[in-house]
Symmetry: D3
Subunit: 134 residues, 6 copies
Amino acid sequence: MATFGLIEYQDASPEVRAVYDDIMTTRKTDWINNFWKALAHDPAALKRTWEDIKQIMAPGALDALTKELIYVAVSVSNQCSYCIASHTAAAQKKGMSEEMFKELMSVVGMANETNRLVAGYQVEIDKQFQSTQP
Amino acid sequence: MATFGLIEYQDASPEVRAVYDDIMTTRKTDWINNFWKALAHDPAALKRTWEDIKQIMAPGALDALTKELIYVAVSVSNQCSYCIASHTAAAQKKGMSEEMFKELMSVVGMANETNRLVAGYQVEIDKQFQSTQP
Amino acid sequence: MATFGLIEYQDASPEVRAVYDDIMTTRKTDWINNFWKALAHDPAALKRTWEDIKQIMAPGALDALTKELIYVAVSVSNQCSYCIASHTAAAQKKGMSEEMFKELMSVVGMANETNRLVAGYQVEIDKQFQSTQP
Amino acid sequence: MATFGLIEYQDASPEVRAVYDDIMTTRKTDWINNFWKALAHDPAALKRTWEDIKQIMAPGALDALTKELIYVAVSVSNQCSYCIASHTAAAQKKGMSEEMFKELMSVVGMANETNRLVAGYQVEIDKQFQSTQP
Amino acid sequence: MATFGLIEYQDASPEVRAVYDDIMTTRKTDWINNFWKALAHDPAALKRTWEDIKQIMAPGALDALTKELIYVAVSVSNQCSYCIASHTAAAQKKGMSEEMFKELMSVVGMANETNRLVAGYQVEIDKQFQSTQP
Amino acid sequence: MATFGLIEYQDASPEVRAVYDDIMTTRKTDWINNFWKALAHDPAALKRTWEDIKQIMAPGALDALTKELIYVAVSVSNQCSYCIASHTAAAQKKGMSEEMFKELMSVVGMANETNRLVAGYQVEIDKQFQSTQP
């Protein structure tokens, strides 16, 4: 169970409700997932985190689905079960097909493998990769 | 320096050269980066890793650039300096703009942050996220 | 379930009981938590780990609560559910308020975020930070 | 070298300069460290990250030094060299003694060790730790 | 529950069955564990991963048990519950005694501790360790 | 450079020298590597860490080389450059052949890959793996 429990909409303060409302409006849903209800015990953190995510996850040079795929990739690398479940669901909602998910997993697995091969073999950065930096 | 040093093309066995050739052909480049030269001390691992990467990174339901972005995201989460340098360069070559890179970093940073907020607040998985699973 | 199960006080060897007794005396509690009961299958590791923790967690230049907060911070970064639950409880017992916990989480989240931004942007260490080292 | 290089004050846009000025004023320093100069290529991320850090690291229920210690603890767990160097320097500036640093390291080391013992022995969360949660 | 559920033998396509059969033959068992059943939704990944594991885990310069111990060590460091459970079982089947497991855990714990002490104290690599590299 | 610099033998206090002497005697070497010289600023931590390592790394149910391989495996997973360099050298000294190292790397890479596939596919632990636990 969440450390301080979950704050439901009907029990929330006006400032927490304002964030909940914005989450539901932005995401076009009628419910709030547990992460926000757990974080709502700290209204400043709730507001800051939501506004950051809203800004960061909005489509830009990368579309919303690509951003969700990246979120899943990080969450899988970090072994965060909640985040894997929630962002896999979010990615599906934004159009991730089963095929996309499977390719995503293969890339994440491979990257985690070669990250260690590189470290283990103590490979030095090629000057060509340094020179791509201005 | 790499644990066993780097195997240059002119010093490579035929089986290693065959992999090097395929890497250069596939990537349309005329050089081999240090990772492969370090791994070439183990020709079986070189061949297996290259063939896996070639299969996994080929465009499919996800395009080649999206796959590189995911590779960078994982490498950044794992603090693998070599992999960050090499896959950032690879992503740039496949069309990653500066704007895309910056958005990528913001998503990776955010995901790493919320992964820990979720863990710290001990948030349970919503039944709605479980039910997206068949 | 723990790999080898849990060793309860009544089933414990004298050397394990001696550690259990010292844990309860030091912590002013009348029970032993599962970590120690699982580790008790290896009495040498039990004794070594407990004596290390007893020495390290004792108040010194840092007070006992600050040390618990640091323990929670590490456990959250590592996604260790058991450790988050047990050390959050320990911190509460040592005086961590809800407000302290919330600020702790915000710092841990932020640090995990900027750790990756630094890696992703490949930032070099400023000479000023090197010079703080004698 | 940083991926896009570093943006010095004299080359910065007015919005970047405004953040740099606020950093120097808040921290009572006359220079900007490389992290911000690297991030300044993304003025929105620069502003967001700085404002978050400013809010989160301000003294509250936890004092500023304790927050820096936690920042160091996370950075050490994540093997972020830059962050370890910069936040160790920041902690020293805020009053961290050599003794405090050494105790900090011992706790961080211990936590990383027991996090793995818990995982390896597959220890279940005690019901007492669950019941500390409302 | 696994993201796409588990594919049982009777529901599997011929190509998936061929991998399942090879797993059971190679491992001299009459059942397939969940990892493969979950991965079977991506037959190409199933085949590639199994063939890689089969090649990598076969006895060579390192015997099969040593390889399993290493697998457990990595899984514990990464906090992967499933992998800890499955590879601990596999190691037991290959001859890991309780004493071996306990020593393994002590080494894994210690390595995780000193990895952070090294990072935290910002220790530079001795020239002697560089010179062991050709 | 190490945070507080390195303490050379000639500058060390008697208690630090006693540990240095024991390290050199135990390891049959005539020099001390930087890790210990950096940690020597905290004589209690130096002594505790050395005695733990000496106890843990001594041959038992697992031989000394196997323990070093495990140490390398963890250090590679954690991206600890110093630890990879020092424990690779230590393993070589204890008899690790080039072939062993290469197999070790393959296992470490594979384990890091499948750890993430398991997490990403949200695979549940088979009851058979739970039942191997008494």
